[in-house]
Amino acid sequence: MRYAETGFNLEIDLSRGNIEQVATDPKETELYLGGLGTNAKVFWDRVPPEVDAFSPDNILIFSAGLLCGTPATGANRTIVTTISPLTKLMGFSIMGSYWAPELKYAGYDKVIIRGKSPDLVYLWIHNDKVEIRDASHLKGKGAIETQILIKQELNEPKAQVAAIGLAGENRVYFASIEHDAASAARGGLGAVMGDKKLKAIAVRGTKDIYIARPAEFMELLKEVWEYMKFRLANPIPETPPINERLGIPQEMSVHDEKFHANYGSWGNSRKIRLDFWTPEVEKEWKETLESMRTRLISCYNCPLHCKATISPPGLPPYMMKCYSKMTYAMAAYSTLDFNLKIAQRAFEYGVDSISTPQVIAFALELLEFGVLTDSDFPGMPTDSEGRFYYLLDKIVQREGIGDVLADGSYLAARKIGKGAEMFEHNTIKGQEQVNAKALTLDPLYFLMFATGEKVQITQIQGQFPQQPFRSRKVREEFVKDWFQVPDEKFKQYFVDWQRHREGPNNNPYYPTAKMSCELVDWMERMHYVDDSLGMCGGLSSWNQKPPYHLHNFPKFISAATGIDMDTDNLVQITRRIRTLIRAINVRRGLRRKDDKPPQDNWLNRMPELEDELLDEYYKLKGWNKDSIPTKESLHELGLDYVSQDLIARGILTDSEDPSPKGTSVEGVKNYSRGT
């Protein structure tokens, strides 16, 4: 009997049209939990570094988290894992809504897809009945439209569908996978789906998910609900209104966008407009949102309603969440009205809401400075909004300059040449980043930007406030009921953290390198727990003082699965998963030189401090100075199979000495994002 999980994966070979239901080893659950953790294990075992994103040997995993389908509130995340065409690393993007629980109820923990179909197909999973079906009639259809059409043709309104739009079909490197109000958008994983000629996966399940110790589990859940209600009534002080309560950023219900608008950077992530947000703007944007927003909506088994249905006049309705409300407006120096309208087209195409507007703004900057010329943009309108629509179409259709831009700004800059690289300044490891710029290096954010394996700041930050609160008194008050901290010392770190005018304990030298490493390690850990359990960050990793934390998660896991779990064990598991993912990417050529923030993220950089931070952080993680996990730490994590492989490949040496920086290894390509 398996608890919380189904114990079965669905293995699909699209080249041969083969479908198998494969029982999984319960030991893997003890070592890697599920979701991201077990995805990484499958990835290490099956995807050697020679395999690139568009190889038939690249696998595409859709996984439910370990707790999805149980009564655990907010456990509804699907973790999609494949090689990212954008970063060339193991990409993992996560989506909410309803897909993962439905997969569990159909009797599977993961769908693992390999090979390539000769023709466009979709997958229909209905409990034990699994079919690869023709999708030629869905070619070119929008990602939202496709979901509707598939449910209609199957006559299954309760089926949950994840689909790509035209961008995925055309292998745009920042294509998303769309499902209901959710998107697995970062990393361009939709392009891999399109490359495999897989238009969609529809799933419907009517089976049971069991839990091992139900009474204990429900007691824990009761506590979570009580605390959730307390937190909704008690916002975090001195925090932007969109983030002061629980859930993902509340941008569908909160109108105050001063935080993003005034402190984010506009255009090609260039201009800070400190005076942008005025009462007049707020009034206008509020009216826009309220006139187009039909309803606030939830994900499966979570009472929060962080998402919304949007009905722009004259356009089909769609669903939106979070920061996609702002990114097009800011890149185009435009309005919320424009953003809500163009987002409809973008979600139908299935493109990432962070990369897409920035790639477009980057191209327009190249035109402005003469790197590209009018002849590269035949027939382009003259207004900013018109240009965004024009370029969105060109990119998704891979037409003309759009074909170059569809590879993302990093690769496009290198293809265009003529100094275009100078304008591509907001990427990490080849992926566009959130549009934010600041003055002086922040040690916490330096580490998170540089080292996060998801290459996305929001997927590593969360537990610790972004800035010190106004006075020691306010900070002391805040830590009084901060029971979520893994160690009491974190409270002191926060209390001693000062505003610049208050004293010397602020960036770049406070928190100290050691403190920063510990804090980042904690923040990141919470995401690895969430991504393995399928928990929404909005109730855990993303927010300060969340209802799920390192002290109650082990109890949930124990009660759900029957596996003995305590905090130490959970910490060890997340270290194992984290290290395994780094090893997968190290095997693909990733090194210290790639662990960098966006180049002009801060005006004042501190090269020595940055080196110290990386040294300290790698040490804490059990990695050598070149970010390669050491033989010793791999052994301690039960990952001897990893060190054996790294030694065999000459990446690690048998002695304890780390390999020298930048060693080129025979048989393994140096990590390169191409030219």
Partner: protein, 178 residues
């Protein structure tokens, strides 16, 4: 004739579909709480409530499982309310041969909402954070054996149809058997 009056509590679940966000916590808690042992398994297909959810047409409608019926209706209804067209059988609570709704997915045994008899209040209501589901209790009185005037109305129509003599004969035969 003295009619016995019996008091009972009527649980009225009020559905405010305008407040529903479609989270389906109600389906989750219903299926889990009716499991044996309690909460040991979750499966929304076993729930005695379902949320008809189609966000793009703004349809969010919690429906409770009602009576089992051996035969489906003659014909179908389709409702349009505020421009939203609800599917055939949308508002129907029956566990019926025409659809998979409100049946155990494996055995096909019909499901019926019991208003969580053993609980203080129905659990779907307790767990509905949006207050789309609320519950009111009303004390009702039922008269044992039904109201005498209703019986008389029934007998009168029988007498009109078959004649008083046949009705009296039938009553006599039935009382002899009794």
């Amino acid at each position: 004739m003295e009619v016995k009056k019996k008091k009972k509590i009527v649980k009225i679940i009020k559905v405010n579909a305008d407040k529903c966000n479609g989270c389906r916590v109600c389906e989750m808690i219903c299926s889990a709480s009716h499991a044996e042992p309690k909460y040991s398994r979750t499966n929304p297909s076993r729930a005695r409530i379902r949320v008809i959810r189609d966000p793009l047409t703004d349809m969010f409608l919690p429906v409770f499982a009602g009576e089992y019926t051996v035969a489906e209706c003659a014909g179908r209804n389709k409702y349009t309310i505020n421009g939203k067209e609800y599917g055939e059988c949308a508002f129907c609570r029956a566990s019926c041969p025409s659809r998979e709704e409100f049946k155990e997915p494996d055995s096909g045994i019909p499901l019926k909402c019991d208003r969580c008899e053993a609980e203080e209040e129905p659990l779907c209501v307790k767990w509905c954070y949006a207050d789309a589901l609320t519950c009111e209790e009303r004390e009702g009185e039922t008269e044992e054996g039904g109201k005498p005037e209703e019986m008389e109305t029934g007998l009168e129509s029988m007498a009109a149809k078959y004649g008083m003599e046949k009705v009296l004969d039938a009553v006599a035969r039935m009382s002899n058997k009794g």
